[in-house]
Subunit: 199 residues, 2 copies
């Protein structure tokens, strides 16, 4: 094997950034080449299927990062509140308080959605499910945990949109603080049985 100095994985961080900033169609091979420092030949050597394969690699990388840094703690950490706090902290850092776009979210509202539908769905299903698990571990009702976890994930996506639109990171921060309050277990969750039977 030749020198492994320039591996496929080395390019992925740059690829992620250029797709985040310019979208799928907006990221031309010229831009990609400039961002990665690789010529077309190298790019097509590492990603024979072109831009589509590059995005898939980026999505896989992003998915792995979230799995390790967010989903896994939410699912497995004993202290559910701590796992949720970690999620909010890591998410804030990752999205740079709304200064950084969520590539998956951006792809979800683009016309290229169908091409990556499975990966996009997996990203969000993983997030919602993991958060739901943590909320249930808090002692919440399964249904309420479902609603609440969907609510939290969409709030983060919306916070990115709004804080970018208003060009104000404080909007993102306030949304995260709101979520902190809404997701923290305050004991009242146990009281509301509202006739739900378990099965």
């Amino acid at each position: 094997m030749a020198r492994m100095v320039a591996e496929r994985s080395d390019a992925i961080a740059s690829l992620a950034e250029v797709f985040r900033e310019h979208g799928y169609e907006g990221a031309s091979l010229a831009l990609i080449g400039k961002a990665t420092g690789l010529g077309k030949g190298s790019l097509y050597h590492f990603f024979p299927n072109g831009k589509e394969e590059m995005v898939r690699a980026v999505l896989a990388d992003i998915g792995q990062w979230f799995e390790d840094s967010v989903y896994s703690p939410l699912r497995d950490e004993e202290d559910a509140d701590a796992a949720i706090a970690t999620m909010l902290k890591e998410t804030t850092k990752y999205f740079r308080s709304g200064g950084r776009v969520c590539l998956v979210g951006a792809l979800a509202v683009a016309n290229t959605r169908d091409l990556f539908a499975q990966a996009i769905r997996g990203y969000f299903v993983g997030w919602v499910d993991a958060l739901q698990a943590a909320l249930v571990r808090q002692g919440r009702d399964v249904e309420q945990a479902r609603i609440l976890s969907e609510d939290a994930v969409l709030a983060i996506q919306g916070a990115i949109v709004l804080s970018r639109a208003l060009d104000d990171p404080a909007v993102f921060q306030r949304a995260i603080d709101q979520l902190h309050g809404r997701l923290a277990f305050d004991g009242t969750a146990l009281d509301n049985s509202s006739g739900n039977r378990s099965f």
Copy 2:
């Protein structure tokens, strides 16, 4: 003038749809021509500055619709609760339960954001301010109303993203229902004990 059948304004609905579906860069003149039924000659006759002017016209049209159908009632309707219910109803219809993307939101997370920054900002500022006014009219604290209205607007944007990602209109609907509960004035708002928890 020649046949008045084809006026500038007649094309705007089609333009809005094609930009919604394909984004700014993705909407080629070929697609635009097909969607509007106009050739390049006509398009550049009505919009001498090309795609940029088309998007500006679409954004102005969207802004006017929201002003009339949503912001104005929120600001001026005596019954604040009714105005909020109208907002949620009209919004659900407009975005087709998440099946239709918000062009302004999509532009906000695209690289073309800077080009339309003012219009994007105006759209969201108008929304948040109008909703805040309605919430204050309910008797809420100004600060809390601000937080709550930001929270609602970003939730709608996030609901579009998530429901599209999961390809499930029910997600959007649940988010709207949640908002209905959160925005309805239930008297507890005066206690100021909800929301903010220390951590």
